[in-house]
Amino acid sequence: MKLGSLRPIDDRKIVDRVLKGDTEAFNLLVHQWEKPIYNFIVRLIGDREEAMDLCQESFMKAYRELPTLKDRNRFSAWLYRIAHNTCYSRLRKDIGKTFVELEPGTSSTRSPVENQLAVETALQHLPEEQREAVVLKVFHELKFDEIAEIQGAPVSTVKSRLYMGFEKLRSILG
């Protein structure tokens, strides 16, 4: 799902409606962005149930802070940024957490379910910034400058994080 090109005009119209008092219109934004934001958080956090809580929290924050959104054409980037902040608050509590080691194997020898789990687990072995850069690039197909905006980092740093993340994933996943 592409961030920059994903119907920004539609988002803007809905945001306008919400800000004019049609609070129920916010559900349209939730409906549109719930799945991508949830999957972004799952891959960042590695816990599906907790990801749902964080996803919900992100939308609650988005609703509360909607009047502060400066560029209404950039709702999605702003929403990802909120989800990013929500996840990082949670991740800071997890310093020192140990992750389950992967069973040896390659993508060709694993079943689809095993691959799904292997990818989710391998992502958890990356430092947070690298993991986020990989997730936003591979699964959400964002541009480097969009990821830089979400991470609050220069584009060159984002590219470096992505490259290093891929190197590590290659050694884990085979």
Binding site: N27, V30, Y38, M60, Y63, S107, F139, F144
Partner: protein, 207 residues
């Protein structure tokens, strides 16, 4: 052209265009080192994409509380309150007192009421003072309470998290335990009653 270097991510992830892209393509074709690196990145990306997006376990829905028009909303409670107050005024002498948003009404010669301070859990006696009923104050107090409620309700379809489930389970266990204690006390009380009755009968016979 030199090796792709840091621009390799631009090449693999499609963020190159025009002349730069053409040159990069030619270079990758001719350079085994860059070609190998591009292939490794593409292979890892393909493996990652085997992980599909999943559906959220539940859907988020924001619900907005719909408030009825002012007149209808207030008519019933104010009417009922007025009826009770008028009936009481006719039936008995009454005193009313406000203390930190708490309305205390006492009738006739009843003892002074007590306001419980929940934060400190200390019972504080309060002296009651007779005064005329201030309807405007009562209404504004109730309105203030209602205004303080969130107009935008929380999220629907929210499942309990693990911690909440544990707390509920613990409370249920405690409830079962207390029920058993209650039954045990009931049994003991019945036994004591029987014993007392037996002793009384025995005492009567001895006399």
């Amino acid at each position: 052209m030199t090796h792709l270097g840091e621009r390799i991510t631009d090449y693999v992830f499609g963020e190159m265009s025009g002349k730069e892209l053409e040159e990069a393509r030619r270079h990758v074709t001719d350079c085994p080192q860059c070609r190998n690196e591009v292939q490794q990145l593409e292979r890892t990306r393909t493996t990652l994409r085997l992980s599909q997006d999943i559906e959220p376990p539940r859907h988020i829905t924001f619900e907005v509380e719909k408030r009825p028009a002012f007149g209808w909303r207030w008519l019933a409670p104010i009417g009922a309150a007025a009826a009770v107050i008028i009936a009481v005024l006719i039936a008995a002498p009454m005193s009313i007192q406000w203390n930190e948003s708490q309305l205390t009404i006492s009738f006739g010669t009843a003892p002074a009421p007590v306001v419980r301070n929940e934060a400190a859990n200390v019972a504080t006696p309060v002296r009651t003072v007779s005064e005329p009923i201030d309807y405007d104050r009562i209404i504004s107090e109730v309105q203030k309470q209602l205004r303080s409620q969130q107009p935008f309700a929380s999220v629907a379809s929210v499942k309990l998290d693990a911690e909440q489930t544990k707390i509920i389970q613990r409370l249920q266990d405690n409830l079962v335990y207390l029920e058993n204690v209650q039954k045990s006390i009931d049994r003991q009380t019945a036994q004591n009653t029987n014993d007392i009755a037996s002793l009384a009968q025995k005492s009567e016979r001895e006399e």
